[in-house]
Structure formats: structure tokens, C-alpha cells
Subunit: 141 residues, 2 copies
Amino acid sequence: MRKKARETNGQSVVMRLRQAGLRPTRQRNELADLLFRDGNRHLTAETLHAEAVNRGIRVSLATVYNTLHQFTHAGLLRQVMVDATRSYFDTNTVEHHHYYYEDDGMLADIPGTDIDVGNVPDAPEGTKVSRVDVVVRLKRS
Amino acid sequence: MRKKARETNGQSVVMRLRQAGLRPTRQRNELADLLFRDGNRHLTAETLHAEAVNRGIRVSLATVYNTLHQFTHAGLLRQVMVDATRSYFDTNTVEHHHYYYEDDGMLADIPGTDIDVGNVPDAPEGTKVSRVDVVVRLKRS
DNA sequence: AGCTAGTTTAGAACAGTTCTAAATATCTTG
DNA sequence: CAAGATATTTAGAACTGTTCTAAACTAGCT
């Protein structure tokens, strides 16, 4: 069973980082492994740092923050704003929407068919739409 | 020209506060005046505090925070999450959506006809939808 | 190997927000 | 309308997530 190569969208993460002018350092590579290992993940800087430390990866919290932002700029991650106190990063960069569990602060992709967002007026003069976020906030019933 | 009575939805703010078990104190009344004076506003605690101080209202920042949260619980305000660093409060509590100007951190109601959000799957077992937020993020073009 | 520019790091600094407990205001009730 | 009980306000300390700083380290040249 061979070690799975680091990749997203068929292109190796290393390549994408190189293209973004980022050196594939040990820390960035190991964090990329964690981030893109299994499917779509929603995590905060502190979550990821804890996970890394747990697995014996030596990396500082500052580097986790730097890396998350750099990956976001490189288009490997997407930052989601749902909670006033924490920033979530989503490893799924394809247009999709979220459930936010208000009671426990968890974020999840909305599964199944796509949500339709219709009837959005044209962007105001001088601006263009950067993206449309839909967050369905859930609470325990 | 008489002073306009404090009210929202026809019911006086004082009444709504009383019902929420909140005493209509000087600070709460004066902040309500600012908040509900003209149409829909989107403000942060610091914005509101600055505005109050500017108009000679003596109130502490802590009270502004308390008041915003209490008003939110009482259903007079709605908290909108668009920016990781600041909490916005919206004086329009009717279901509606927002433009967020990424470049300057401004929040505005999306005007005109309502946006349709369709095809939202049922809320997961044990949860119910608390609300659906749509944020159209804009950037300078 | 040695150089250079990019990267990482610990810890300090920062911003927005919440907490604390003492002072003050409001609302009863007599 | 004074007294007592309870709610509210406040200044400032504390806290939390995040960013900054500048010194140490590393990757990628040559």
C-alpha cells in the first residue's frame, strides 16, 4: 500500500504551491497532507494545529495561520464566515453551501442537489460578485 | 414638531423591552432612539458607541454590548456574521439578505425583489432551520 | 559549500468582546 | 415618597482568536 501522493484536482499540491510562489516546505507539505487527506473538511486554525501536534508534526500556530491564508490565496482553501469568534477554512473550493449547527458551532456542507439562489439583482455599479454564500443555520429542535 | 415616540412594528420599544423583562433605562432608551431612528441600519458595537458618545449620550461600551445582545434576544435586532473580526447588528429583523463590500467592510441590504433560495433540503434529523443567510460578497471591479 | 531569499518560530502585541464586582438606577411596597 | 430589593451600568481587567516582529532556520540556487 503506497503512500498517496499529495494532490488536489489531479494537480499536485506542490505544483500549485510552486505556481503561487510558495516553497513546498516540510510544514506546508505536512499540513497539506492533513488538510486534503480525506474529503471535505471544515476546520479552524486551532483545530488544525491541535491535530498536527497530535500526530507529531512539529509546527507552530503562527505557521498554521500563515499556511491557511497562503493556501486560501492559492485557491486551495476557502474561508467561511459563520461565527463571530472563529474563522473556518473549507477544503472544498467548489461553489457549495453550508449548514451551521448553532448549538455546537459545527459547520457542514449541505449535501445532495444544489441549492438554487435565484433572482439576485445585478451587482451595484463598480462592483462585481466575488461569491454568494448561503448558510442555513440550524438549531436543535 | 413633536418628538417621535420610540417604536418598532407599531409597538413601542419600551413595551417590547418590558415584555422581555428589560427595564427601559435611560441608556437603553437612548440607544433605541439611535438604532431605530432612521430605517435599516447595520452597525457594530463600536460604531454605535462612537455615535452615542458623539451625540453626548453618556453610555459605556460595555453597556452598548449588553444592550445590543439584549435587543437581539428580544427580537429587535439581528446579528449578521460576515466579517471574522467584527459583529454587525441589523435593525431590520425581517427575512432579507445582504451585500457585503469586501473592500471596505460595509454591509447593506440587497434592495428590490426578494432573492429566491430554492431546493434547500430538509433540515437534518433533530434540527430545525433557525434561519437562512444569503450574503452576496462584492468586490470593486 | 556558501549565498540569498523565503520561511518558521516564540512570544509580544493587538482588536474585539466578555467578565467582574462595586456603584447606581429603577421598581416595588408600605 | 422613603426604604428595600433587584436590575443595570460602569471602568477596567481579563480573555480569545489572530497578527506582528525580528531572530533563527531552510530551500534552492551557483
